[in-house]
């Protein structure tokens, strides 16, 4: 039986018009951003300078990124950074050529530096010739922590004022993500490098208003910013507040709009407890706790000792204890789903330290016994760590874990200023370390921390096979093949105990509801601080 048209129409009208009839869900319109206001927040610490190319702390990218632009950047709106989320900034578009051996950027023509001078390709060449340490570079960096990133760049050409060509020795897809990093802004060729110690001339959405070293850095809106309608804010102010409880009080009282850099979950909960309207944001980060085992120092060159140490550290207890439930597990690359290159979840579950703690500790004792250590001859060493609470908490937990397998350790707290020098010189036995990776990229992570002879290879680990695989994956342009190679490297690194990863910590932010578009990325903390889209709803 078919229904007549009038009847169908009648039924339709009854359904639609009936009180309480279901109404199709409507997506609420996104609020219209408002212009104005100064956002106040605190950085991780005072920045040693406003020159990201010469620093390795997120404190610098936080406080300098509003001033600068890159050729390309990671889209702030996309939570996971990858090569697919890279957007243009100073470059309008780019093109890989000659089988990923040449990377050509076509630059915007409407960009001015904050002092009014025009931006051209000469600035790009100046910047990256300096960073890669070209013999004829005009910019000489005092320290150059990411020179390694650009060692494959053979030459940089600026054939005209709005074209730049990076010529590579070998194909390297990772060059693009590296250039998108918060550590890779473009500097003006006409401003001496020394000025970036305390000043900033960039092309970015904000101009430096005042820098009081150790106190605050303040920016005002750049009215000539090349992205019309941005930024929304009139300014940003980063106030250095050293004491954690003072940071919490400052955000609760409303003196800070956003807080949380360097916080753990408890800090965020404490802040919200005193000001319930605060919004807490917790996401993954690209920062891991790792164990440095000195490969050059007996008995740690014995694989059994390294494995025993790794097995003794129960990762679930690490999650509950030092990390208060806010961490994920993985190998050398940030685990999925937050990370792009991490080992599959099923494999991570089988890594040392992830299994039954009793069984793993028994296995650890067995390995120690095979190496000649036991109750009558316990393995003893000094466990070093940096004298910062976030390090000491985890190191103290480690001491207890190692004691459970009969390893006796003394905790040595090393003053933060001499930490990296001591690690570089391998003046330690075993150390608890934190590493933040600038970008979620295999070249950045692997070459820096695991390649033979790398300055940041603090374990002294060296494997020709791994080095060969690293180079192979670096030149592989097919993403699936590359991922397979990266995972293979990761498996071998974990098996060798190259730098056992305890876990990947989470980041926490606390903000007032009037702060809009304060985004976080789940696989990096370094590439998100341009803040041109942030606005205040007040």
């Amino acid at each position: 039986m078919t229904l007549s048209r009038p009847l169908v129409l009648l039924v339709f009208l009854l359904v639609v018009a009936w009180p309480g009839a279901p109404v199709p869900a409507q997506t609420p319109a996104a609020p219209t951003p408002k212009y104005g206001g100064v956002l106040v927040t605190h950085p991780l610490s005072a920045t040693p300078s406003l020159s990201p190319h010469e620093e390795s702390t997120v404190a610098t990218t936080q406080q300098a990124s509003p001033c600068f632009n890159n050729l390309i950047y990671y889209d702030p709106a996309k939570k996971q950074e990858s090569v697919d989320t890279i957007i243009p900034e100073l470059a309008e578009r780019w093109s890989w050529q000659d089988g990923h051996r040449n990377l050509v950027f076509f630059l915007r023509r409407d960009v001015k530096w904050h002092d009014g001078k025009p931006f051209t390709s000469a600035d790009v060449k100046y910047t990256f010739d300096g960073v890669r340490g070209a013999p004829d570079a005009k910019a000489k960096l005092k320290v150059n922590p990411r020179k390694l990133w650009y060692e494959n760049v053979d030459a940089i050409e600026a054939p005209d004022p709005y074209t730049v060509v990076f010529r590579l020795k070998k194909p390297q897809p990772s060059l693009l993500p590296m250039l998108a990093s918060g550590y890779s802004p473009v500097y003006p060729a006409h401003v001496p490098l020394a000025e970036f110690k305390n000043k900033c001339i960039g092309t970015g959405p904000f101009k430096l208003k005042e820098n009081k070293p150790g106190e605050y850095v303040e920016y005002v809106k750049n009215p000539d910013y090349f992205i019309k309608g941005r930024p929304y804010l009139d300014g940003i102010k980063f106030i250095v507040i050293r004491d954690r409880s003072t940071q919490i009080a400052a955000v609760q009282s409303g003196q800070l709009d956003v807080a949380g850099t360097g916080w753990n979950r408890t800090n965020a909960e404490d802040a919200k407890g005193g000001a319930p309207k605060l919004v807490v944001v917790e996401t993954d980060s690209n920062v891991n706790d790792n164990i440095l085992i000195n490969f050059k120092k007996p008995p740690f060159n014995d694989r059994r000792i390294r494995q025993a140490i790794n097995l003794a550290l129960d990762r679930k207890a690490y999650l509950v204890g030092p990390r208060q439930g806010a961490a994920t597990f993985g190998g050398a690359l940030l685990p999925r789903p937050a990370g792009v290159w991490g080992l599959p979840v099923a494999e991570v579950a089988k890594l040392a330290g992830m299994g039954d703690p009793a069984k793993q500790k028994a296995e650890a004792r067995k390995l120690l016994a095979e190496a000649g250590y036991g109750p009558s001859n316990p393995l003893k060493f000094t466990l070093s760590t940096r004298a910062l609470p976030i390090y000491v908490d985890t190191a103290s937990w480690m001491v207890d874990q190692l004691q459970q397998v009969g390893i006796e350790t003394t905790l040595e707290q090393i003053e933060t200023g001499v930490w990296h020098p001591k690690m570089t010189r391998l003046e330690y036995s075993v150390a608890l370390n934190l590493t933040g990776i600038g970008i979620d990229d295999p070249d950045a992570q692997l070459f820096e921390n695991y390649r033979c002879g790398s300055q940041r290879n603090f374990s002294g680990y060296c494997s020709e096979e791994i080095d060969r695989l690293m180079v192979e994956q670096s030149q592989t342009t097919d993403p699936k093949k590359r991922l397979a190679l990266v995972n293979e490297i990761d498996r071998k690194l974990q098996a060798d105990g190259a730098r056992p990863i305890l876990g990947w910590g989470k980041q926490h932010w606390v903000l007032w509801p009037h702060v809009k578009n304060w985004v976080t990325h789940e696989n990096s903390i370094y590439n998100i601080s341009r803040r041109q889209d942030v606005w205040l709803d007040k």
């Binding site: 390795s56 320290v143 305390n198 106190e215 507040i241 003072t246 409303g254 020098p421 570089t424």
Partner: protein, 318 residues
């Protein structure tokens, strides 16, 4: 008197010279130097670059040569450059001085205004309930670290009023009200502890003086209590109190590190600790010398005050 003052200044000079050597050597005994710190912030160390940087900063020279060069510059008024910020040291130190000075003066002011009257009242009302209350309060002041008290104050302020003092320094010339709100609380927190010491010393010396014959005579002559206590007894009891005030002030300038950190005041003490941690030699050396000068001058001032407080004390005569 002039001879005495001259001799004291000469001794002060010798003291300061000794201090300069001590701080110079101590800084260089600490592991690492500024180049280590610079590379630390970069997350790696390149030995070749580091040696080059050391040569640029002049810290590759033997220590005695570095010392003589620094001393020469100091005496000619050149405080050098901050290694960390690459700015003239004076430019970095100058804005921080008024912050610590204001805090120290306020703290001292509170300590005297609270401690001296409390000590006097406690002595005069010895054995009575008020004496016990004041002594308990002074014990609390001695027991509670000033930084902890500061943290509690901030916590109470934010929980009850939803506000705390400004997290950036407000000059009194820009906004006196905001400046006072910013400094009164830390001043009180530090002053409370100092006042406890001053109160106990004042009470102790007042009790001794109140037993003296001339005080008994003054009572017998029918003098008013306020005159006997505040004019006769206190003046004679004040020598040790003034000594203590001088010592407290000297320590305050460099000893406010934790209070400045908790209240986020960009003062000298907090910056000194930062400078030590990054081995910013010019800043550390100059700041410590500054504190040494303050201590020496404070002690000299206290000694000279003695002659006014007790005319029987004369310097420079046999």
């Amino acid at each position: 008197m002039r001879v005495y003052v001259f001799k004291r200044l000469v001794i002060a000079g010798v003291t300061l010279l000794g201090m300069s050597m001590l701080i110079f050597v101590l800084m260089r005994l600490a592991p690492g130097n500024i180049t280590d710190m610079i590379f630390e912030s970069a997350g790696y160390v390149d030995e070749a670059d580091r040696r080059k940087l050391e040569a640029e900063l002049g810290i590759d020279k033997p220590v005695p040569i570095q010392y003589v060069r620094w001393l020469g510059e100091l005496l000619s008024g050149d405080l050098g450059k901050s290694y960390r910020y690459d700015l003239p040291a004076w430019e970095v130190i100058k804005p921080r001085l008024p912050v610590s000075l204001e805090l120290a003066v306020l703290a001292l002011g509170f300590s005297v205004l609270l401690g001296v009257p409390a000590g006097v009242i406690s002595a005069v009302r010895r054995g009575r309930p008020l004496d016990y209350v004041l002594r308990v309060l002074s014990l609390a002041g001695l027991s509670m670290p000033s930084f902890w008290l500061g943290m509690i104050v901030i916590l109470l302020l934010v929980r009850s009023l939803g506000m705390i003092p400004s997290m950036t320094y407000v000059s009194p010339f820009d906004n006196l009200g905001a400046n006072l709100f910013q400094f009164l609380l830390p001043g009180l927190a530090v002053g409370y502890r100092s006042s406890a010491l001053i109160m106990r010393i004042t009470r102790s010396t007042m009790l001794e003086v109140l037993r003296e014959d001339y005080i008994r005579t003054a009572w017998a002559k029918g003098q008013r209590e306020t005159l006997v206590v505040w004019r006769h007894a206190l003046k004679n009891a004040s020598l040790p109190v003034v000594t203590l005030i001088g010592i407290e002030f000297a320590f305050l300038i460099g000893g406010l590190i934790v209070t400045e950190t908790v209240f986020n005041l960009p003062g000298v003490a907090r910056y000194l600790v930062d400078a030590i941690q990054v081995r910013d030699y010019p800043i550390v050396q100059n700041l410590v010398m500054l504190i040494a000068v303050v201590v020496v001058m404070a002690n000299l001032t206290v000694d000279l005050l003695y002659t006014w407080l007790d005319p029987r004390i004369k310097y420079g005569k046999a």
